[in-house]
C-alpha cells in the first residue's frame, strides 16, 4: 500500500517537472497530456487507498525520511492516509484530473500552455502534501506551496497589470495569515514538544485553556487567510484574474478549503475550546451572508461564483465551528464537485464569448451551448440545495446542525443565505442562457466548447447529482471513526418536515423569482442610469461594502507613505550612508597614500626611515611600559578604570 501512497503523492510532481522542461519552448500537446495522465494515475492510487481504508478500516502511516533532528526537535517527512486525508485526496485528485483534461482544451490557444501545466501540477503536489502530511510542519510546507502556485497561476497572464496585482494581493494577504499560523505552530511545539498529529492532539488535553485558546486562534488566523474569511477575503474575488481552470481547481474546490481541512484536522483542539468554535461558526455565518449579498449585484460571472465560494466556505466554517466536523467535510466534498463544475461551465461561456464576463451582454446562449447550460444549471441546482442533488444533503445538514445546537441566529442567517444563494446562482444562469439574445448585437458569435472538455466535465456533473444521497451514509460511517460522530436529528418529526420542506420551498421560490426577474425581454445592458443602480444599497454592494477601498485608502496608502519615509530617511540617510562612508574612507585613504608608491627611491628611503623611527619609538614605549607596569596599574586603578 505504501507504493500507492507514494504514487498518489509524487506523480503530480513528476508531471509538473515534465511540463516544466518545456516551459520555455513552444506549445506541445504532450506538456498537457502527460501531467493529465499522471494525475489519472494519482487518482487511481488514491481510489485504491480509499478502498483500502474502507475495506480494512485501518489507516496507513509512513515515514519517508527524517527532515530535521536536533536536540529535542524531530520532524520527519511523514505521511498519513486516514479517513479524513483520504477524502481530501479523492477530492483533490478527482477535481484536478478533470481540470487538467479540461485545461488542455481551454488553454489550447495560449502561448503559456506548457508553463500552465507545470504550475497546475505543482499545485496538486503541494495540495497532496498539505492533506497527507502527518505533522504540522509538513502541512505548513504544503500550505506555502499551494500559496506559491496560486500566486503563479493568478498572475499567469503576467502581461496584464491587473493579474500581477491580484496575484500579489493574494500572496501578501496569505503571508499575513500564515504568520498567524506559524505562531500557532510554534505555540504547539512550545507546549507539547512535538508537531506530530498523533502526539500533539492527545497532549492537548493536559494543557491549560488559555494556551489552547491562543493556539486555536492563531491556527484559525492561518485558516482565515487561506479560506479567504473576513477580513482577509478580498483576495479571492480578485484572484479571478487567473485562467478559469485555475479558479475551478484552486479557488473553488481545493486550496481555499485547506482552512476548513485544518480546522477539521484539529477537531480535538477545537473541541476543547468551544468558545473559539462558536466564534468560528459566527464568523462563518457572517461571511456566508456577507459574500452572498455581494454576489447579488456583481456583473462578472466569475466574481459571482467566487463570492458564492466564499459564502459556501462560510457554511463550512459554521459547521466546523459548531463541532459538526464531518458535516463540514461533507459539504467541502460536495461543494468541490458542483463548484468546480460551475466554474468550468463559466469557462466554456467565457471561451464562447471571447473572455467577456458581463452576463448582461449575453442572453440566450442556451441555444448554442446546450450542454454547458445543462451542466451549469444542474450545478446551480446542487449549489442551491434542491433535493436530491448534492447540495441538499450537505447544506441541509449544516442548517440542521445549527438548529439542533440551538444557535438560532446562525441558523436564521444561514437559511436566509440559502435563499440568496439560489437567487444569485439563477440570476446569472437566467442572464447567460435565457431571455433575449443580447450578444449578437455586440458582435459575439458563441460556440460550444470542445467535446472532450464537456466529457471531462461529466464526472463532476455525475458527482454533483449523486454524491449527496449515495455517499452520505458511507461517508458518515467512514470519517466518524476519526471525527466526533454527532448525528444531527431533529427529534420532532413534524418540525423536521416543516423545516426541510420550508427550506426547499423558500429556495425554489428564490429560483423562480430570479428566473422571472432576469428572463424578461426588458433586460438591457445596464449603463448606470437606472434607479436601482443609483441607490445606496446597490453602490454599497457593487463596491464590496467599500472594503477594498478602505484597505487601499487606510492601509495601503499609509503603509506606502511610511515606506517612503523609511526609504528616504532611514535607508538612504543611515544605512546607505554608513556603507558609502566606509567605502569612501577606503577611497580617500588610497588616494592620499598612493604618493608613497611613486617608485622614487628617495621617497621610499624617507618612508623607510620614518618606519624605522616609528618602530623604535614603539619599542621604547613598550619597554618602558613593561618596566613600570606595576606603577601603571596603580595609577589606572586610582583613575577608577
Amino acid at each position: 500500500m505504501e507504493l500507492f501512497l507514494y504514487t498518489a503523492l509524487f506523480s503530480p510532481l513528476v508531471g509538473s517537472l515534465f511540463a516544466a522542461l518545456f516551459s520555455m519552448s513552444a506549445k506541445t500537446k504532450w506538456a498537457g497530456i502527460v501531467p493529465s495522465i499522471l494525475l489519472g494515475v494519482s487518482l487511481t492510487s488514491s481510489t485504491i487507498l480509499l478502498f483500502f481504508v474502507l475495506g480494512t478500516n485501518s489507516t496507513l502511516h509512513v515515514e519517508m525520511m527524517t527532515w530535521m533532528e536536533t536536540g529535542g526537535l524531530y520532524i520527519p517527512f511523514g505521511f498519513v492516509v486516514d479517513q479524513v486525508s483520504v477524502t481530501m485526496m479523492m477530492v483533490v485528485t478527482l477535481v484536478s484530473t478533470v481540470v487538467h483534461v479540461y485545461a488542455i482544451g481551454y488553454m489550447d490557444h495560449d502561448k503559456g500552455f506548457n508553463r500552465f501545466f507545470a504550475w497546475l501540477s505543482a499545485f496538486v503536489f503541494s495540495m497532496m502534501i498539505l492533506v497527507m502530511s502527518d505533522n504540522f510542519a509538513g502541512l505548513f510546507i504544503g500550505w506555502e506551496g499551494v500559496g506559491l502556485c496560486s500566486w503563479g497561476l493568478i498572475g499567469f497572464w503576467y502581461q496584464k497589470e491587473s493579474a500581477t496585482w491580484a496575484a500579489n494581493e493574494a500572496f501578501i494577504m496569505n503571508r499575513i495569515a500564515d504568520l498567524g499560523m506559524l505562531i500557532g505552530i510554534f505555540l504547539i511545539y512550545w507546549n507539547t514538544g512535538s508537531l506530530q498529529y498523533d502526539i500533539v492532539f492527545p497532549a492537548m488535553a493536559t494543557l491549560d485553556t488559555t494556551t489552547l485558546v491562543w493556539i486555536g486562534i492563531f491556527l484559525f488566523i492561518g485558516a482565515m487567510g487561506k479560506s479567504a474569511q473576513f477580513p482577509l477575503h478580498t483576495w479571492l474575488a480578485d484572484a479571478m484574474e487567473g485562467p478559469t481552470p485555475v479558479s475551478a481547481l484552486i479557488h473553488a474546490a481545493t486550496m481555499v478549503t485547506a482552512g476548513v481541512y485544518l480546522v477539521v484536522r484539529s477537531n480535538e483542539l477545537y473541541a476543547l475550546i468551544p468558545n473559539v468554535g462558536l466564534f468560528i461558526a459566527s464568523l462563518g455565518a457572517f461571511v456566508a451572508i456577507f459574500a452572498a449579498t455581494m454576489a447579488l449585484v456583481n456583473r462578472d460571472i466569475k466574481r459571482v461564483i467566487a463570492y458564492s465560494t466564499l459564502s459556501q466556505l462560510g457554511y463550512m466554517f459554521a459547521a466546523a465551528g459548531l463541532g459538526a466536523y464531518w458535516v463540514a467535510l461533507f459539504h467541502l466534498m460536495a461543494h468541490a464537485f458542483f463548484k468546480a463544475l460551475l466554474f468550468l461551465g463559466a469557462g466554456n461561456v467565457m471561451h464562447a464569448m471571447d473572455s467577456e464576463l458581463d452576463p448582461f451582454k449575453m442572453g440566450g446562449l442556451g441555444k448554442g451551448m446546450k450542454w454547458t447550460m445543462i451542466m451549469m444549471t444542474l450545478a446551480s441546482v446542487a449549489l442551491a440545495g434542491i433535493f436530491p442533488l448534492a447540495g441538499f444533503f450537505s447544506k441541509d445538514l449544516i442548517l440542521e446542525a445549527a438548529f439542533v445546537d440551538h444557535h438560532l441566529i446562525i441558523y436564521g442567517v444561514l437559511l436566509l443565505t440559502a435563499g440568496l444563494t439560489a437567487f444569485y446562482s439563477f440570476r446569472i444562469i437566467a442572464l447567460i442562457f435565457h431571455g433575449k439574445d443580447r450578444h449578437t448585437a455586440l458582435g459575439f458569435h458563441p460556440h460550444e466548447a470542445y467535446k472532450f472538455m464537456l466529457i471531462a466535465m461529466s464526472p463532476l456533473l455525475l458527482l454533483a447529482i449523486i454524491s449527496g444521497f449515495l455517499f452520505k451514509g458511507g461517508f458518515f460511517e467512514m470519517v466518524t471513526t476519526l471525527l466526533p460522530a454527532t448525528e444531527y436529528h431533529i427529534h420532532d418529526h413534524l418540525t423536521y418536515w416543516i423545516m426541510t420542506i420550508g427550506t426547499q420551498v423558500f429556495v425554489i421560490a428564490s429560483i423562480f423569482y430570479a428566473y422571472k426577474k432576469y428572463m424578461s425581454p426588458d433586460i438591457k445592458v445596464p449603463d448606470g442610469t437606472s434607479a436601482m443602480e443609483q441607490s445606496f444599497k446597490y453602490k454599497l454592494l457593487i463596491n464590496q461594502y467599500y472594503i477594498p477601498h478602505f484597505y487601499a485608502e487606510y492601509l495601503v496608502k499609509p503603509y506606502r507613505e511610511l515606506s517612503t519615509i523609511f526609504w528616504e530617511k532611514i535607508d538612504m540617510k543611515v544605512v546607505d550612508a554608513t556603507v558609502d562612508g566606509i567605502a569612501n574612507a577606503f577611497y580617500t585613504t588610497a588616494e592620499q597614500t598612493r604618493g608613497m608608491q611613486s617608485g622614487n627611491l628617495s621617497t621610499m628611503l624617507k618612508w623607510m626611515v620614518a618606519g624605522l623611527i616609528g618602530l623604535l619609538s614603539l619599542a621604547v614605549v613598550f619597554g618602558l611600559a613593561a618596566r613600570h607596569s606595576d606603577s601603571i596599574v596603580i595609577m589606572l586603578s586610582g583613575l577608577g578604570v
Binding site: 608608491q597 617608485g599 622614487n600 627611491l601 628617495s602 626611515v609
Partner: protein, 101 residues
C-alpha cells in the same frame, strides 16, 4: 678627561644621524653610497667600543664582517651604477623611477 664608552656611543649616534639624513636627502646615487658607508661605519664604531668595554672580541669580529660585506656591496653597487650611467648618462635618483607602481 678620560674618553669612555659613552663618548664612543655618542659619536656613533651622531655619525648614524648624519648618514640617515644623507640617505634621505641626497639625490646623487654616489652620495647615497657614501651615506650608506657612514651608516655602516657608525655602527662599526659602536661594535668596537662595546666589544672593548666588555672585553669580548665578538663585537670586533662582527665589525670586520660588516666591513667585508660593505666592501662587496659597494663593488656590486658601483658596477651597477656605472652601467646605469653609461645608459642614461646621469645618476640622479629622481630619474630612477621605473619601479613606479
Amino acid at each position: 678627561m678620560e674618553i669612555g664608552l659613552n663618548h664612543y656611543l655618542v659619536l656613533s649616534t651622531i655619525l648614524f644621524s648624519i648618514g640617515l639624513v644623507g640617505v634621505m636627502r641626497r639625490k646623487n646615487l654616489l652620495m647615497l653610497f657614501f651615506a650608506t658607508e657612514i651608516l655602516l661605519n657608525s655602527v662599526n664604531i659602536a661594535f668596537a667600543a662595546i666589544s672593548h668595554y666588555y672585553g669580548d672580541l665578538t663585537g670586533q669580529m662582527f665589525a670586520f664582517f660588516v666591513i667585508a660585506i660593505a666592501a662587496s656591496e659597494v663593488a656590486v653597487g658601483l658596477g651597477l651604477l656605472i652601467v646605469w650611467h653609461k645608459r642614461y648618462n646621469n645618476i640622479d635618483l629622481d630619474y630612477l623611477n621605473t619601479m613606479k607602481g
